[in-house]
């Protein structure tokens, strides 16, 4: 059975969706990703959907769900590289993905994740100093 690879990059997980997302694949991804976040203790997840040109409401909701689950597991999710057509379709479907952070490309997404994780560690660092 085909799977979407989940790559580890330091504190982050990188998911690049290169094939057509069908519903089973999305469910598997959801399973795999939550398991990997748990295993690795990742602080951030970057989902690259630049190769995705077709979305339906199910895939749209799946993206929102994955980001919600990651947040519960204390990992920030950034969705990057959404095609204009996909963005328009999601908006027309009424899926504005509230709470999901977005960036134009992987580079910007990484920077965003780094920034938010740095801000987080700064807080804990401060707390330690006060101890």
């Amino acid at each position: 059975m085909e799977r979407i690879p989940i790559l580890r990059m330091g504190k982050f997980l990188l998911v690049t969706i290169q094939v057509d997302m069908h519903d089973r694949l999305a469910m598997t991804l959801q399973d795999d990703l939550t398991t990997r976040i748990n295993e690795t203790g990742a602080r951030g997840v970057l989902i690259d959907i630049s190769a995705l040109d077709i979305v339906d409401s199910f895939i749209g909701r799946m993206i929102a769900n994955i980001s919600g689950m990651a947040r519960v597991l204390d990992a920030e999710t950034v969705v990057v590289g959404m095609q204009p057509a996909v963005a328009i379709t999601l908006v027309e479907l009424g899926l504005s993905l509230p709470g999901v952070r977005t960036a134009l490309n992987v580079e910007k997404g990484m920077r965003l994740l780094q920034l938010s994780v740095d801000a987080g560690s700064l807080e804990t660092g401060d707390a330690r100093n006060e101890d």
């Binding site: 204009p84 908006v91 977005t102 960036a103």
Partner: protein, 289 residues
Amino acid sequence: MSSQGTSQIPEIVKKHEADLLAEWSKELALLRGQGSGRIKEAELREQCSSFLRAFQEAIQSGKLSGITGESWATTREMLSEVSRSRSLQGFSPSETAIFVFSLKGPLLALMRRELGKDPELLVNETTIVNDLLDKLGLYTTEVYQKSREEVISRQQQEMMELSTPVVKMWEGVLALPLIGTLDSARTQVVMESLLQAIVQTGAEVAIIDITGVPTVDTLVAQHLIKTVTAARLMGTDCIISGIRPQIAQTIVHLGVDLSGVTTKASLADALALALKRSGFIITKAQTAK
């Protein structure tokens, strides 16, 4: 018409084509004298003679009940050309239709001269001619209307394309000054061109300036929110600027929720915010005192 097979109109017209043309031209010249001279006399004469020739050939076929058949194709084509050129020259619909209707006078007069001795035949034939010319006149008006509509739709298309420029204001800052009413079709164009520009420039902030949007109702607000959401999905923050006092009042009265969108009163404020978000600092150059 029962007398279709034995109608004498074709023969009469053929015999007196030259006279008819002369009288018709005279009539048209008279009418033209009242209007402004937007069309040259030579051109008008040329149109008259070629129409009369086509008309004459068409009625020779004997089909006098309507103008839809194959034999009327040349006439229709000729008339379309005339009325199209007139609509572009700025003639009014009646000025265009009069071209055909003015043929009625000379033609009926001619028939009266030829068939005056047989009143019943005259009445029959007059009805046929009247019917035909009315149909031709209506056809002219129809084509006129159609070509005017073509002009309007072309202008609409041009306006839509003209009025949605995406401007790069700074490194990573795009501006989209909207002019005119936002309907669904335009929102689509606006959204597409904005998202395309975001991909090309990699902008992180986009400013939508609605100073030129005359009214904002719930539908327009919804379109704006859609555009902002789509841009956000691509990872670009949107700022809506140029909200006039009346529009701010309308938005609140309508209960439109713009809380998820950053709004600024003027484009300058929006640009300042965008630069700040991108990490730029603007300072005044120090002048030596």
